[in-house]
Symmetry: C5
Subunit: 100 residues, 5 copies
């Protein structure tokens, strides 16, 4: 899984039937400086994440192992909202305070 | 999934039997500036996308979860046409207006 | 799938039993200028491709969905020979003429 | 699999049910100079790894083949703690001495 | 699959049960100049490869299709020892002579 931030969302009406009812959020990975970096990825949302939240997202067939994504043609899913990240004994991120 | 633009198509007559009847479209990803960038990918089309349209495409085994791609040797599929993308509260793309 | 060119082949006698009888071809991707670029990939061949031919190749579990690759430990397969590629309304490649 | 070092951990309370009970560790790959490099990856832990330890981690569907990760939406797992790595006949890493 | 060279090995005693009995070899890809390049990957060995040998290795779920890797948490496997590689009609590598 990667640590990312929800930066937006995607609306689509003409889509494969298996996508109906899924929330599609735009996520960008977070680097060691706490900055969003790299490619934007569209993730199905399995936890009710909101814009700006720091989340964990998974890719590949593992993205189809949550209740909401089973057998659906999605290759990325948000499956956790991050409360805290510690790196080398120091707090790197805390939900209430953001990246330190 | 990634946001991409349909930039062309591929015709093949000599192919694995499991590919017969699939439309094969060329897609290139779209970056945060709304520009196509990166590698061209050939996707099976599950939604009737047309050239120039902005779409969502998925890779890996997830690409085989649509009705038209089940059990076929395709590793990328277009499974949605994008109506609107919002980034940090602003409209980034709208089907009628293009990238803003 | 990616568009690639067959640039060579690989011979191996000491190999996993599941590989016996497969033709193994070296493929390199083709970029938007029609040039081979990037990493060389060894693909199983499901369509009788020859050296120099422009092909489609797929990766991951999708590479095991052709008749010749089912349940075999191969992660890339050539599953189509390309006749024609059109980009933004123009012919980019035609089998008789090569890249334009 | 890749050789990596455990550099931290992630705490999440709001998450997909299938993640409950998993330890989530932050891992960064190790390059040929013995330095951590590249993207931070969040791995499920199947072996009781501790911070600073050098481990093997696997990605994709293979990450779901350990006892603790079966059918869970995780795409990376730590499945071994490294005792020793030898490169070209020389010790590259030994658990008691670190990278040489 | 990729062409690589076995550059070393990894020893681990504390590991997931499903890894017991597997030989774990360090492999690095070979580029078009016959040089090892890119990231070191730890592969399960299904063919008895030795250090210095030029091999084919596969990744992802395909790595679990050999007799020795079925259902195990490994994402890369060596499944062939290379005898000869030909590129554009010329010998690129021959087991007795190395890269030409």
């Amino acid at each position: 899984m990667l640590i990312g931030r929800v930066i937006g969302n995607v609306v689509s009406t003409k889509k494969d039937e298996e996508l109906v009812g899924l929330r599609l959020l735009l996520v960008q990975g977070v680097d060691k400086q706490g900055q969003t970096a790299g490619q934007m990825v569209v993730c199905a949302d399995s936890v009710g994440a909101g814009e700006g939240e720091v989340v964990l997202f998974a890719g590949g067939s593992s993205a189809r192992q949550t209740e909401v994504t089973k057998n659906r043609p999605v290759d990325h899913v948000i499956m956790a909202i991050v409360d805290e990240v510690t790196i080398e004994g120091r707090t790197f991120y805390r939900k209430e305070h953001g990246f330190v």
